[in-house]
Structures are given as structure tokens and as C-alpha cells.
Amino acid sequence: METDADLPEWLRDAGLPNMAAQEAGEIPAGEPQDAGVPESGVTESPGEQGDLPPAASPAPPPDDQKTTHEPDLEAAALPGWLQSMRTDEGQPPEAAPSPEEAGPLAGLTGLLSADQGTSHLPGQATRPLHLKITANQRLHADLLHNLVEMEGQARPLPKRPALASQQIQRWIIAVVLILAVLWPVLMDGNPAVLDAYTEEAAELNRLVSQLSPDAKVLVAFDYEPAFAPEMEAAAAPVMDHLMLRGASLTIVSTTPTGPVLAERFLNKTLAGHQYTGGVQYINLGFIPGGAAGLLSLVEAPQRTVPYTIDGVAAWETSTAPALPPLQGVRSFEDFSMVLVLVDDPDLARIWIEQASPRQADEAKQTILTMVSSAQAEPLLNPYYLSNPRQLHGFAAGLRGGAAYARMTGRESGEQDYWDAFGVGLFVMAIILVIGAVLHASTLPGQAPAVEKDEEMP
């Protein structure tokens, strides 16, 4: 038990001996102390006379001590949030306990409810708090308090303009672009010449032309359906050339939708060649695992894709011969050419990284070629330009396909899109220039206008 004599001098100077006495039970809790400690129990830092409302009030004094209050003291006006923290002083007495209606205690009276146990913790709101806050902390506390209060208040939504400027821009661009693309499609004029030429496409054409009849070619359909229009337009002349030369095609894909896109491409776009599944081409389906799956295909194709998409054993076994497109093929190097139809630059890079180290042995070199989306062209160029070449030839986008078609005399398929493509690119360039000029005109010294609905009220 601590007494006045045991207290340090600084504590006695602070006027707190009574607290020690209170702890000893000599003074009831909540009795107003001397002037050194405010009644609310809140003390502020020196020099900061903030009017922060008290966080908690002392417990009400016993009835016999209420009469000792000085009559000139006014009752404190507590804010609502503090009032809600007070104990149930002044509340009407609860009604007579009713018997429990449900549960294992049904029929018993005088039970403690769970609510009482949790909402009235002993000592809550009766313990004096001594908060020492700075003015900055009080500012933040007030700000937080206002924010919390604002959350509960309904605010009318700001009125938006019926037509936002961005929406109008979107409509204008769409209408202009659609009209520009439709104009060559609907109007029967003189078709533009396919004047595209790329060195990569010429090299690809040379490689396909040098293939022996009945060459075994591995074709990977690695593009998503959304890119099918561009990929099919670019790949059609190359695949047409391959099929005219009588190449046997083995089809794989590292994307789940690739096998069905391959079937659609061969049986719709290139239906004129009448390639038969299992005879001139086989579809080995989906290769899971991404880069690891590709490495597995390069290392051991027979283990990686043992069956066709129809569930037929594709490779030679001790009991059955291989299907015609795979006869004589036992490893990845036995393919005369690998042609990857790919839209994703990263996927194209993975193909090169996993397949090109195999080409170091020139005696067993497999030619790696690609038909890619236009967006993959920047990444493929370094592999094509390196010495020795890691990518032996490629055609990128509609321009690459048009170049290949022109070199091989297959303009008819590309011509459908070429005119609209040229006009569309021209209009897009104009729109980009106009947008850049308008944007640049708003840049110097002008901060973008803040929309009204983003402003703080």
C-alpha cells in the first residue's frame, strides 16, 4: 500500500496524492479532485488550451456525496458521442425479468443476457483518461470525426451533364473510323495495289519454296480468337503456299482455343485444299505448361503429345505405325520447318528461346519461322537480324501477309482488307495528330479542370 510518504516529490507536486489515496479506498472514485486536475479527467499539454471534449467522464458520485457539489457549478453539456459512452445512469429500471423463451435455458428467469455482458464492461467510462494531445493531433481527430459523421449523412449526387465530352469524342471517332473503313468496302472502285514488301516475308517465301515435297512441318496455332481476323489474313498466303507444296502438317497449340481455331482455319479458310485430318495433317491438340510444356515438346514430342485431338495414337509404337504426317519423325529435329502463328510477343519469345538453342547444331537444324500479329513485330526483329539467325523468317500482321501474297501471286484474299486497312490507318493517323495537337494546346500552364463531382463539399 503506497502512502504519501512513499510518493516521490514530483508526484506530490503534481497534486496527485489524492489519487494514491483513492486507490487505497480512502476517496471514492469520481469525486472531484483538487484544481490541479480537471473534473473531466482530461489534461492538456502546456501551452495548448484546446477545447477537446472529454473522452470519458468520471463515474457519478454516490448519492450521499451529490449534496456536496457547489451550487454554482453548471452541469456539463456532453456531446452526443460521449453521451452514448456513459453508463446507464438515469435510465429507467428494467422491467421484471421474463423467462427465457428458447434454447437449453428455456423457462428459466433471471438469466444474464449476452448483451449485458458485452456492452457494459466493468470499469468502462468510469476510468479517468489523461489525454495529452497536441494541437496537430486534435486537428486530425476533429477531421476524422467529421469524416465519420459525413459518412452517415445522405448527400445529393452531383448532376452530371447528359452528354460528357468524352462520350461525344468517342462517338465522333467511332463514326469517322467506321465510315472510313466501310467506304472502300461498299464502294466498288479500283483496288489498291498490294505494294507491301518486307525482307522477312521474302525470306520466309524463299524457305517455303525450298521445302521438299511431302516435307514434315510443325505448325503451332498460338493466338487468341480475338486476333483471328488479323492472324488468318496474315497466315492464309503462307499456309496456302505450304499446302500447295504438299507439306504434311502437324498442328499443336499452347493455348486452349488453338486446336479449334486450327480446325476452323483449315476447314473454312483453306477448305479448297481439301486436306484430310489424319492423312495430310494431324491435330495434336493443346500443350499445357507454357514454357515448360514447350521445352518438353522440343525434348520429347512423343511423350508430350502422344495422341491426336480425337484420341488416336499419333506416333509410331511397337504395335502400330505412325500416322502419315508423322511417319519418319522421331524427334523435334526431324521436322523440316516449324511455323508458329502467334499474336503475343512474349509467347513468340518463349518459342524462340526454347526452340532456337536446338538449332545450334547446323547438321540437324530445324528452320524456325513465324507469322505474327503486327504488335509482335518489334520484338521479333532482333531475333531475325541476329547472326546466326534465331528466327529464319516471318510475316507480321496484315502488311506482312500482303507482302507474302504479292510475292506468291495470292492477292485475292488480302485485297478484301487491304483497301480498308489503308484508309483506316490514314484516318487513325489524322485522329492521333488532332488529338495530340489538342492535348498540347491545353498543356502550358493549364491544370486539368477538376470535375465538380470530385470536389470535396
Binding site: A174, L186, G290, L295, S373, A374, P378, L398, Y417, A420
Partner: protein, 231 residues
């Protein structure tokens, strides 16, 4: 055109218009179409996984393989089963083993491929740009080739300098980037902007071809199916 093709064309026509309705703003029809495409793609991917992976690589060896093949097939079966434990928060730690295997193998393949397939060959190719014998063997003009090589080397180094964020700090000294690295980084910024512009042009070109294909499809559908059917 048979009945299935006609139904397919009609669905394509309707869904194309629903996607184009996004021009009027985000709306339920557009969202329905997008959700439908995502659902169909997910369902198709699941079927492909079962048909091309689980059945030939797991079910077939277990049911009709030799004793050795059955024993080997138990390994992916066990690892796959442990991976399913990731669904349960209580048992998720059981899936750490197959996850570690997948991540380890994936990282090893990716890093190995990047080093042997990109890093070394591309560095060697950059060196070859200044190899006089190699230039004379493949390129007609020595001066042009050297110029190309110089631009490539400057572009590579300047681009790397743009991403130089390392600093040497000393006590009581505020950091200021070295002037020559900052200048080199600004040159690199130009090369990076050109590369991004090239990629952006490719993306625009791909999107334009997709738009052309859809508009040509709509015109064909109206001319060959819709108008004859109406008249």
C-alpha cells in the same frame, strides 16, 4: 450455307451489334455479351484440359498402362490432389509442395531459356555488329553497318541508363543524380519512346484489322442473309 452456318452467322451478327453497343456507354447488353464470351472460353478451356491433359496423361496410364506407367501416373495424381487442398484455408499448406515444384520448374525453364535463347545470342549479335569480317560477309556497306551498330549500342546503353536508380549515399549529403547518367537517361527515353510508339502502332494495326473484319462480316450478313430474307 447450311442451317448451322446460318444460325452461327445470326449469333455472330447479334453479338457483334451488342459489343458495338458499348459506344453508347456501359450497358447490360454489352456486359451480358462479355460475360457470355468469358463463360464460353472458360468452359472450353476446362474441356480442353480434361480432353488433352487429364485423360491422355493421367487417366489412360492409370487405367490401361503397364505397372510402371501406373506407378509413374500416381505422382501427378498425388501432386494434383495436394494442389486441390489450396481451396481449403485449413489445408492449404498441403498444396505448398506442388506449388513449389511448379514455381521452381517454371522459373528454371524461363531463366534457362532467357539466358541461352535471348541474353547470350543477343549480346553476341551486338558484338558481331562491330566484327569487320562478319560485316563484310553479310552486309554490303561497312560504314552503314558500323553506323547501325553504333546507334544500337548507344540506344541499348542509354535505355539502360534511364532505368538506373541506384545511388551511392554519404552521411549528411542529399542525393543528386550524376549529370552524365541523367543526360544519358534522357537519350534513352527517346529510344524507349520510339520503341513504345512502334508497339503502339502494331496494336492499333491489329485492332483495325479486327474492326475491318467485323464490318465486312456485318455487310456480308446483311447482303446475303438479312436482305434476301426480308424481301
Amino acid at each position: 450455307m447450311n442451317l448451322a452456318d446460318q444460325i452461327g452467322a445470326l449469333l455472330g451478327f447479334v453479338f457483334t451489334l451488342l459489343v458495338f453497343s458499348y459506344l453508347l456507354g456501359d450497358n447490360p447488353l454489352f456486359r451480358f455479351t462479355v460475360h457470355l464470351f468469358i463463360g464460353v472460353a472458360a468452359g472450353f478451356a476446362a474441356i480442353m484440359a480434361i480432353n488433352s491433359v487429364l485423360l491422355p496423361h493421367l487417366a489412360a496410364p492409370l487405367l490401361s498402362g503397364t505397372a510402371g506407367e501406373r506407378l509413374l501416373a500416381l505422382v501427378p495424381l498425388a501432386l494434383g490432389g495436394l494442389l486441390l487442398a489450396k481451396v481449403s484455408p485449413r489445408l492449404s499448406s498441403w498444396g505448398n509442395l506442388p506449388m513449389a515444384y511448379l514455381v521452381g520448374v517454371g522459373a528454371a525453364v524461363a531463366i534457362g531459356g532467357a539466358i541461352t535463347g535471348t541474353l547470350f545470342p543477343q549480346v553476341l549479335a551486338s558484338i558481331d555488329l562491330f566484327d569487320r569480317e562478319a560485316i563484310q560477309a553479310f552486309e554490303p556497306g561497312l560504314a552503314v553497318s558500323l553506323m547501325n551498330g553504333a546507334v544500337l549500342i548507344v540506344g541499348t546503353i542509354a535505355s539502360l541508363a534511364y532505368f538506373q536508380f541506384g545511388i551511392l549515399t554519404r552521411p549528411n549529403q542529399t542525393y543528386r543524380p550524376q549529370a552524365w547518367i541523367a543526360s544519358l537517361g534522357q537519350i534513352g527515353q527517346v529510344f524507349i519512346a520510339i520503341a513504345f510508339g512502334f508497339i503502339f502502332a502494331g496494336v492499333l494495326s491489329a485492332a483495325l484489322v479486327a474492326l475491318i473484319e467485323r464490318l465486312v462480316f456485318l455487310v456480308d450478313f446483311i447482303e446475303t442473309i438479312l436482305l434476301p430474307w426480308i424481301t
